[in-house]
């Protein structure tokens, strides 16, 4: 190649002296160009030019420029196994490389360019440009040493341009590290649910013109009927409403009463459960120690009946119901003259000691009561204000069925005793009352009212209603108790406040049959014996209890009890047993058959000594005793076997009379053997 250039340059000497550049490296093309341009220009002769003659100079030499590489071999022969001979290869590579220059230009969109741009930005920011260049050189380390400088020159240009643009941070493959992590995914779970489909039903109908017509016609008729009803019923609306109200009330009441019965039963169950041991004692307990007690007995305390509304009231009357022997009535009032207030009539049952069965509040204190023997729902009550009333337990209300008023002859003083009598000839119920105003009145229940009849007026002077005028008001005695004979209808006894007792007859209104100077103070109770027709007992605040034969003026037995005696009662099972209660809280039980002088049981029954016992009653069939006190509570006691001794029955005895007879005989025996003067004297008694 260098020879060619030299030849070309020789040729050009004649013509191309004006050629400004003489570089040997330039290609052939530039030489030809020179030839044509500078053909008409003046020639400059170089010193070492060949000397040629003009003829030789004019000789035209043809030069053919071909693309053939003169250095390329033209006669390469290769052995061809196919032909099995040496064959010349026709095709020879004619290219000859004159110069190689590794370029540093990168396509701007290529990966490497982008990388470089990013790198350039980074480095620019950090101010490490010279380092960048050196870094950039490494990736393109090629053996083209000649182009090294040019490379560097080129690259700064391109890099600078790249650095100017803001590029995204391209990860450096040497410093770049990848990290990855996988979070824990919750495991998948399938849930499904099937709800019940909404319920369905079928419906079918026909829609025809006549159906529609009929329906409308019916509707119109209905409307007309409603209008008529409304017109007619406007006046009755209020009545209907009120009727509805009453109906409602009744139904409510019905519900309540039903509940009431159930509640009552439940209450009884609960109470009996609570007081179970008492109930068992009541039924089964017999005091075994009575054998060792030498004829004496005890009272076993059973239930205590109290009503908290009745606190402050004293028990003023007790009465057992003959028909329902577990039911007894308690009258509440006050004996204190100064403290008179309201009163109460309360009925208790042994089956439920916690709460009364019936409660009747009264305006005035109750002083006495008596339950009718046949019609046990009728209760006669006497009040402190002198009224008497009859309550009907069957009635719903709290008001008495009959009540006496000032017009109808009520007493002017407290009524101390009432007592039912047998029905009179007109079959009307009637009862008697005795009061401090000295009258014994008989009340008859005639239809809706009480009709009174004065039976007798008690007077101080032995029965004469007439007396000196000045003394007449003084002449009236105050009756405090009375009792009717069990068998002799007209006979009755009255006790007075002065201490006298009168035997009277219903038929004689002015005169007493007999008068007994019984006590020094008011006679609190007077009771006929249940069995003996002649014997009665009386007690008084003068601390004594006396037993009388009504034919004899003087008492047969007198017992001094060391305290004012509130009440005395005969036992229903024996003619010789009676009980007395005193204000010092003691119950005395006597059995004349056993001991004529002393009580066979003297038992204090109240906790506080100040409580006074006011009344006592025996139960008709059960061996229990109820005692009322002045604090409003009633206690029940069971009589121990020693107190319940019945006289032995006759071997022949089968009917009532013969059962009663032995008792009579017993008592008779006792009576006969006692002296006439009524003082209890020791001595040799013959007990039959």
């Amino acid at each position: 190649m260098a020879e060619r250039c030299a030849l070309v340059s020789q040729r050009c000497e004649s013509v191309t002296s004006f050629v400004p550049f003489q570089d040997e490296e330039e290609g052939v093309d530039t030489g030809d160009g020179c030839d044509e341009w500078s053909s008409g220009k003046a020639l400059v002769k170089p010193s070492d030019q060949l000397e040629l003659t003009e003829a030789e100079l004019k000789e035209e030499v043809t030069r053919i420029l071909t693309a053939n590489n003169p250095h390329a071999p033209q006669n390469i022969v290769r052995y061809s196994f196919k032909e099995r001979s040496y064959m010349t290869t026709s095709v020879v590579d004619q290219m000859s490389v004159h110069f190689v220059l590794e370029g540093s230009l990168l396509h701007q969109d290529s990966d490497e360019a982008r990388r470089l741009r990013a790198e350039g930005d980074l480095q620019k920011g950090q101010g490490l440009q010279p380092a960048a260049f050196s870094l950039l050189v490494f990736p393109q380390a090629t053996p083209a040493e000649g182009g090294g400088e040019v490379d560097e020159e080129d690259r700064p240009d391109s890099v600078a341009s790249k650095a100017d643009m803001k590029e995204a941070n391209v990860t450096n493959q040497f410093n770049f590290s990848e990290r990855a992590s996988q979070t824990l995914n919750n495991p998948l779970r399938q849930r499904s649910c099937q709800t019940e489909p909404p319920p369905r039903s079928t419906f079918g109908a026909t829609a025809n013109q006549w159906e529609i017509y009929d329906a409308y016609a019916e509707e119109l008729q209905k409307q007309e009927r409603n209008k008529e009803k409304q017109k007619a019923a406007t006046s009755k609306k209020e009545n209907e409403k009120s009727k509805k109200k009453t109906l409602l009330m009744e139904t409510q009441n019905d519900d309540l009463t039903k509940m009431g019965e159930v509640a009552k039963i439940l209450e009884r169950m609960v109470t009996q459960n609570i007081f179970d041991d008492i109930a068992k004692d009541f039924k089964y307990f017999e005091d075994a120690s009575d054998e060792f007690r030498d004829q004496k007995g005890t009272l076993l305390p059973l239930w205590k009946f109290q009503y908290d509304q009745a606190k402050g009231l004293s028990v003023t009357a007790l009465c057992w119901n003959k028909k329902y022997q577990d039911l007894f009535a308690v009258g509440m009032g006050s004996y204190d003259f100064r403290q008179q207030g309201r009163g109460m009539l309360v009925f208790y049952s042994l089956k439920n000691s916690a709460f009364p069965e019936y409660i009747y509040p009264t305006d005035s204190g109750v002083l006495c009561l008596h339950i009718h023997e046949q019609h046990s729902y009728l209760v006669a009550v006497g009040f402190y204000d002198g009224c008497v009333a009859v309550y009907n337990l069957k009635n719903e209300g709290l008001e008495p069925m009959y009540e006496s008023t000032a017009k109808t002859g009520k007493h002017t003083d407290p009524v101390w005793q009432v007592c039912w009598q047998n029905d009179d000839m007109d079959n009307n119920h009637n009862f008697y009352s005795v009061s401090s105003d000295g009258r014994v009145v008989s009340w008859t229940l005639v239809k809706n009212e009480l009709v009174f009849t004065d039976i007798i007026t008690l007077s101080l002077q032995g029965g004469f209603s007439e007396g000196p005028e000045a003394a007449q008001p003084l002449g009236i005695a105050c009756g405090t108790s009375f009792d009717f004979h069990k068998h002799i209808d007209y006979l009755f006894l009255v006790g007075t406040e002065e201490g006298k007792m009168h035997k009277c007859s219903k038929t004689y209104s002015s005169q007493f049959l007999e008068t007994y100077d019984a006590h020094s103070m008011a006679v609190d109770a007077i009771k006929w014996n249940h069995f003996h027709p002649k014997v009665f007992i009386s007690c008084s605040s003068d601390w004594t209890v006396k037993i009388w034969d009504h034919t004899i003026n003087t008492p047969m037995f007198t017992f001094d009890l060391n305290a004012a005696v509130g009440d005395v009662a005969w036992s229903p099972y024996s003619s010789t047993v009676f009980a007395a209660v005193t204000t010092d809280g003691t119950v005395h039980v006597f059995d004349l058959n056993v001991n004529k002088y002393e009580a066979i049981c003297q038992q204090p029954v109240v906790a506080k000594k100040k409580t006074k016992l006011t009344h006592v009653e025996f139960n008709p069939i059960h061996p229990i005793l109820i005692v009322g006190d002045d604090r409003g509570s009633v206690r029940s006691f069971k009589l121990s076997p020693n107190l319940r001794k019945k006289p032995k029955a006759h071997k022949n005895g089968a009917d009532n009379i013969t059962k009663v007879l032995p008792r009579l005989l017993h008592l008779n025996g006792l009576l006969c053997s006692c002296p006439r003067f009524g003082c209890s004297q020791p001595g040799g008694w013959v007990v039959s």
Partner: protein, 105 residues
């Protein structure tokens, strides 16, 4: 004379019997009232075209009470349908029109 009388009667009864009369329903009170009023409105609006009235009713019911409701309006047809309980109304209206609306998916 008789003819005119009859015609008058017809007109009368049509007038008298045009109030909406519910024949059978088991819908709750509020729903019933609303549906009845909707039917009346639709029938009055599309007095000549039962289909449009039915369409209006059905679409309103779908929107208000959920899918999917069915409505039949006509003067003479019999039907037997299964409906969701408490979602049926069968009423007469306008003297001679019967509307039956029920829901069943």
């Amino acid at each position: 004379m008789a003819g005119t009388g009859e015609k008058k009667e017809e007109a009368d009864y049509k007038r008298l019997h045009s109030f909406p009369l519910i024949r059978h329903t088991d819908m709750p009170e509020e729903m019933r009232v609303e549906t009845m009023e909707l039917c009346v409105t639709a029938c009055e609006k599309f007095a000549t075209n039962n289909e449009s009235a039915a369409k209006m009713i059905k679409e309103s019911m779908d929107k208000k009470f959920g899918s999917s409701w069915h409505v039949v309006i006509g003067e003479g047809f019999g039907f037997e349908v299964t409906h969701e309980v408490k979602n049926l109304l069968y009423m007469f209206f306008g003297g001679g029109l019967a509307v039956c609306v029920w829901k069943c998916s």
